[in-house]
């Protein structure tokens, strides 16, 4: 009562809650952010891989700061990173296992997982169980999970949400160069004289890469249908028509060939398929490319000349390329363009895929999905023999093919062939295209196990929920887009009974009866890492020289990094510096690509083309950022961007509510933003929201090679919303 009176009278203005304390590193700072100790770690959001210090006071994460010593971000962070400590104690953390909606102890929950999955296998065969993981565990966990899934449990259907993200980059690199792995590094963005960002809105999605292209005098080209924040940084913005990429790339290549900007004699013995490509390009010129890509013919030529005449060119891309039914082939064209113009394996010259999740790269290298650990192909006899020997198992136990990819797992659930599913750290209800399908699929399972740090729309459908530790509570390593391996560290204990994913995997392995064989003597992620170093030795993604001590010494080490004195302390900056790639003869495969039409193209009843993407304030399905007030306050709802001409015709104004429908579903009520960021006839919706879920609309059309969804283009109808 006294406190209330004091409050109403305002005797006390709460100043004691807003005092400042002196911090030896940061200087004066709010007492609420005062720390006892700093823990050096790496950001858990995107793949840029910024180094940060996580501040702990009395066992709670209370502050972060960019690591001034880290080579990636030099002390700076994006808005998500700057409040990342708030994620750890956010609402909605899972703290106790549940079985059929009832709180359970770990023993019962894991027994149910193991007996349940075994039961499904016993009844319906080994092909009836699937695992979907993520790009956000630590490398050590991916390595352990891969072994557990493919060798221990014998699961054939194992994939990650990385297939929704950068699978096309992986497939494209493999087709062009023989193995995955971005050949360049961030420094190349600064050393290049031309940087092309193709379908990459780094200002929103990889903000700490933006400083690398600013103020250095490089010519910046941005290829994007929208006038993104990144397009505003460009010297030349090419507003390509959605899915006009292949046509534009063919036009560029044809122009380069026609104008003799490719040194055919020099390149001939470093590539395969040159003559086929040239023959194919005879059917292309700038005019045809202009018509099919929606880019003015002069711009096609200008772009070709900018790239062709560049001394050093980085061709970087992201989801604008990957999120396409032609993603893989678009990647191969970018690779071909880079190689034909001599932009690979040199300072400031690289075809560079900017990856999505913080450790998508870790799962690319160690995972057991699209390839076996260490970029070993399933059908490579030497690699099989080597891996079997390293693991001391019979080679016949290694799977002979990758098994079903993500969308094929979902389709097999729908058709009843897969009956048990274990989902780890991903939220497909919101992130998978054509939401109706995924919801139907997950509801039809005999057993759905979801392991996550937070309650999500996906955990709501689960039979068993396993509470996992998250970033800040786990030890291990992340590998970023430039192949740099950095440490992540546990700074605080997980809440309640939550356990690290690593512990959960080991426990399940014990119950499955495969722990002794797969994880002999393992107790911590370090054990997994040490084995992975051995397993990667001699492979293109060689981690063998990257000890945790070495990472600490330089803040991050780039693979390949074999042991030995010849390798720089910070590892290898660039791949293919000898101009030989990982294909037979060291030659790059040039591929011939023709554009394919959109499956779900705009038409009278669905007249608009919908593009989806991200905004800087949020991460993926807002499982984390949606719970952080400062970020929510910056972007509290989804919106649909619409050109003024279209809006006027529909009598919509900024701030009005609209209903957006595709052939597959409807967003009932979403706020309109009338803006010339988008072209007449095209609309854009950020995909982060469950409430206004863009994936109710998107098409479940997939790249035939990478199996990545075509998130970026589908046809929709827009109407003013009425109750």
């Amino acid at each position: 009562m006294k406190a209330l009176v004091r409050r109403v009278l305002g005797v006390d203005h709460g100043g004691d809650r807003y005092r400042y304390v002196d911090d030896p590193i940061r200087g004066p700072v709010s007492e609420s952010r005062a720390v006892d100790q700093w823990v050096r770690t790496t950001c858990g959001y995107c793949s840029v891989g910024c180094g940060m210090l996580l501040g702990v006071r009395a066992g709670r994460a209370v502050a972060v700061q960019g690591d001034p010593d880290h080579p990636v971000n030099r002390g700076r962070l994006c808005p998500k990173g700057l409040c990342e400590h708030q994620m750890i104690a956010a609402d909605g953390r899972l703290t106790m296992p549940t079985v059929d909606g009832q709180a359970a102890n770990w023993n019962d929950a894991l027994d149910r997982v193991v007996s349940g999955l075994r039961g499904v296998i016993d009844t319906h065969g080994p092909d009836s169980v699937a695992i979907l993981s993520t790009g956000q565990l630590v490398t050590e966990e991916f390595y352990a999970l891969g072994k557990l899934a493919r060798l221990g449990m014998g699961v054939r259907n194992y994939d990650g949400n990385t297939t929704l993200c950068m699978a096309s980059a992986v497939s494209g690199y493999k087709l062009s160069f023989g193995t995955d792995g971005p050949p360049g590094c961030y420094e190349d963005f600064e050393l290049a004289d031309v940087v092309v960002l193709w379908g990459a809105n780094i200002a929103d999605n990889h903000p700490l890469l933006a400083p690398r292209i600013m103020g250095g005098g490089q010519t910046i080209v941005v290829v994007d249908p929208r006038v993104t924040k990144t397009a505003m940084l460009a010297d030349l913005h090419v507003a390509v028509k959605p899915r006009g990429d292949v046509a534009l790339l063919n036009g560029i290549l044809a122009t380069l060939a026609a104008e003799h900007l490719i040194d055919l004699d020099d390149i001939r013995d470093r590539v395969d398929g040159l003559d086929d490509l040239l023959a194919h390009l005879a059917g292309w010129d700038a005019e045809r490319a202009a018509i099919e890509s929606g880019v003015e013919v002069d711009v096609v030529r200008e772009l070709a000349r900018i790239i062709g005449r560049a001394e050093r060119c980085v061709l970087a891309w992201s989801m604008g390329v990957n999120h396409s039914a032609q993603g893989t082939e678009t990647v191969t064209l970018l690779n071909s363009l880079a190689v034909l113009t001599g932009n690979i394996g040199r300072l400031g010259a690289s075809p560079f895929s900017i990856t999505g999740q913080c450790n998508a790269m870790g799962t690319r290298e160690t995972g057991f999905t699209a390839s076996m650990p260490g970029y070993r192909a399933y059908d490579d006899p030497l690699a099989r023999a080597e891996l079997a020997a390293l693991w001391n198992i019979d080679e016949a136990r290694l799977p002979t093919e990758r098994g079903r990819a993500y969308p094929d797992i979902i389709n097999a659930i729908v058709s009843g062939r897969i009956r048990g599913l274990w989902i780890i750290a991903t939220n497909p209800v919101v992130s998978y295209p054509h939401r109706d399908i995924i919801e139907t699929a997950l509801r039809s399972l005999d057993l759905l196990v979801v392991q996550d740090g937070f309650e999500t729309p996906t955990t709501e459908l689960a039979n068993v929920v396993l509470p996992a530790a998250i970033w800040g509570e786990k030890d291990g390593t992340f590998t970023n887009s430039e192949r740099r391996v950095s440490r992540v560290r546990a700074a605080v204990e997980p809440p309640g009974r939550a356990r690290t994913d690593f512990d959960i995997f080991l426990d399940i392995a014990r119950r499955w009866g495969c722990a002794a064989e797969l994880f002999p003597g393992w107790s911590s992620p370090f054990d997994a890492y040490e084995e992975w170093r051995r397993v990667s030795m001699g492979r293109p993604c060689d981690y063998s020289g990257i000890t945790w001590d070495r990472i600490d010494a330089v803040g991050g080490v780039q693979w390949p990094c074999p042991e030995g004195p010849d390798v720089p302390l910070a590892g290898t900056k660039r791949l293919y510096t000898d101009q030989r790639v990982n294909r037979p003869g060291g030659r790059t495969a040039l591929r011939v690509v023709e554009p394919t039409p959109l499956r779900d193209a705009p038409r009278p009843d669905y007249p608009f083309l919908l593009n989806t993407g991200r905004t800087v304030e949020h991460w993926h399905t807002r499982t984390k950022t949606g719970r952080i007030a400062v970020l929510e306050g910056l972007a509290p709802e989804a919106w649909v961007e619409m050109h003024p001409e279209d809006a006027t015709r529909l009598h919509l104004r900024s701030g009005d509510w609209a209903r957006v429908s595709s052939q597959r579903g409807t967003i009932d009520r979403i706020r309109v933003r009338v803006t010339t960021i988008v072209r007449h006839g095209e609309v854009f919706i950020p995909f982060h929201w469950d409430e206004q879920c863009a994936n109710r609309l998107t098409d479940d059309d997939f790249d035939p090679i990478s199996r990545e969804p075509n998130y970026k283009q589908c046809a929709v109808r827009i109407e003013p919303w009425s109750a």
Binding site: G27, P28, R33, V39, P68, L77, A203, A239, G633
Partner: protein, 466 residues
């Protein structure tokens, strides 16, 4: 679990290159922010860094990033504008503050002293950039002080330190030189630097479209109704009006009662009534201080008139001056809909209408009601001449958003005035007049659009933080 700590390393001396340096001031100089619109990528890191540095609760935002846009696809131009306090040379917040809680420090920082803040929020109306914010958990106003504790420690503000592209800088400016030429303090969709000699310097893109508009322009929304102020101003004006015509003992008694309730109510409109006594401190510059002083004097004299009728002219004079001060305090550039002598006319009309009706002066009552309506219409005509949202938007709020209430206000005023002239019972006339004025006063507070920096798309939307 074992924690692997790498801690208490020395503060990274080697990497100074990425940490901006704080320059020492020379005579006649102050600190200011610089903002390069070409370099800003709209990442909002500065906003989050500010919230973290100062431990601000959700919704209390000291630095904001706005967005302006113009042109047509594919040559659309869109730019961002990050702004916190402009550390003005003539800060409107400081000049209007009744308690002198604001101080212009020698380094130029416009600092706010929480101990002296009574939570009246007058500075939030005065600032043409809507910089000071009422922080509900503290019941006072807070604002950016350029990270004064960091400046004292020789460090740059947190936003400057956090900006990944170095778009935000801290600079020195010669105060007299800036007084003479502050053209670089202007930016599109931003109130002119002339108003308060705001010091933030903008590097603007060369290709800014002429038609650039703020992404927040769509979000026209009513302001806070300030219910306590609706009551306070109406009751004080009723009392003052009655004082002019209150002849009988009963009328003087009623007047004194109304005046006392009004004064007491005024206290509780403050965030911190306990320190209300500080409100007299800025009589030299603040109309709010003067209002408090004059109405307090009036509130003291009004009860005396009950026993000593001869005091009534003095009470009336104090009251009239108080009503005038009351009106003047709303005439601030930061609130264009109020920034007009018509506000004085409005308040005078209310005083007439209510006071005269209560004491049976029918002609004055009718005239007051008519004048109140005419002043509103005249104000609309004035505001409509300027197309920018703080002007035209205020009319739009009153005539579109609140159309039924505006119509009801006008109807009750007209019927009330006619009733007064046609000899209807005074009680009915009073109810009509009071209802009209009550709605009118509420509309006065809600149908105003503050000057502000251009906002991001979500500014002011539900769930957004400013």
């Amino acid at each position: 679990m074992t924690l692997v700590q790498i801690t208490t390393k020395p503060p990274m001396e080697a990497k100074k290159t990425n940490t901006p340096e704080l320059l020492a001031l020379d005579a006649g100089e102050q600190y200011r922010f610089g903002f390069n619109m070409n370099s800003c990528i709209g990442c909002h890191s500065c906003e989050v860094a500010c919230a973290e540095q100062n431990g601000l609760p959700a919704g209390t935002v000291w630095r904001r990033v706005g967005e302006i846009e113009g042109g047509d696809h594919p040559t659309t131009r869109r730019f961002h504008l990050s702004m916190s306090c402009n550390q003005c040379i003539e800060p409107a917040c400081l000049e209007g503050c009744p308690t002198n809680a604001y101080v212009k420090l020698t380094n130029g920082v416009v600092a706010h002293n929480a101990d002296d803040c009574i939570g009246c929020q007058y500075c939030t109306w005065n600032c043409p950039y809507s910089v000071p914010v009422f922080q509900p958990d503290r019941r006072i106003v807070t604002k950016c002080d350029m990270c004064q504790p960091r400046l004292e420690a020789g460090r740059t503000p947190a936003c400057v330190d956090a900006c990944p592209t170095h778009a935000i800088t801290i600079e020195k400016v010669n105060v007299e030189a800036w007084r003479l030429d502050h053209a670089a303090g202007d930016a599109p969709a931003l109130p002119s630097a002339d108003l308060t000699l705001s010091t933030t310097r903008f590097d603007l893109p060369e290709d800014l479209p002429i038609d650039a508009y703020a992404a927040s322009d769509w979000n026209l929304r009513p302001e806070h109704p300030h219910w306590s102020l609706v009551w306070l101003t109406l009751l004080s004006q009723l009392a003052v009006g009655m004082t002019f015509t209150a002849d009988s003992f009963a009328q003087r008694g009623a007047t004194a009662t109304v005046a006392s309730i009004a004064l007491l109510g005024a206290l509780f409109h403050l965030g911190r009534p306990a320190v209300a006594y500080k409100a007299f401190r800025n009589l030299r510059r603040s109309w709010l201080s003067r209002e408090v002083a004059l109405l307090s004097l009036y509130g003291t004299l009004a009860p005396i008139t009950v026993a000593a009728p001869g005091v009534r002219p003095y009470a009336a004079a104090a009251g009239a001056a108080g009503v005038y001060a009351s009106a003047r305090l709303y005439m601030v550039p930061g609130r264009p809909a109020w920034h007009t002598p018509l506000t004085v006319v409005r308040f005078t009309a209310t005083t007439m209408a209510l006071g005269a009706t209560a004491t049976g002066q029918r002609t004055y009552a009718a005239a007051g009601l008519a004048l109140a309506v005419l002043a509103t219409i005249a104000n609309w005509a004035r505001l409509l001449r300027n197309p920018s949202p703080p002007f035209r938007g205020a009319v739009r709020l009153e005539t579109r958003w609140f159309r039924p209430w505006t119509l009801a206000r006008f109807a009750t005023a007209i019927v009330g005035a006619l009733g007064a002239l046609l000899g209807w019972p005074l009680a009915i006339v009073f109810v009509l007049g009071a209802a009209s004025e009550f709605v009118g006063r509420w509309l006065f507070y809600v149908a105003v659009v503050p000057l502000n920096m251009p906002g991001a798309f979500w500014r002011g939307a539900a769930g957004s933080h400013r």
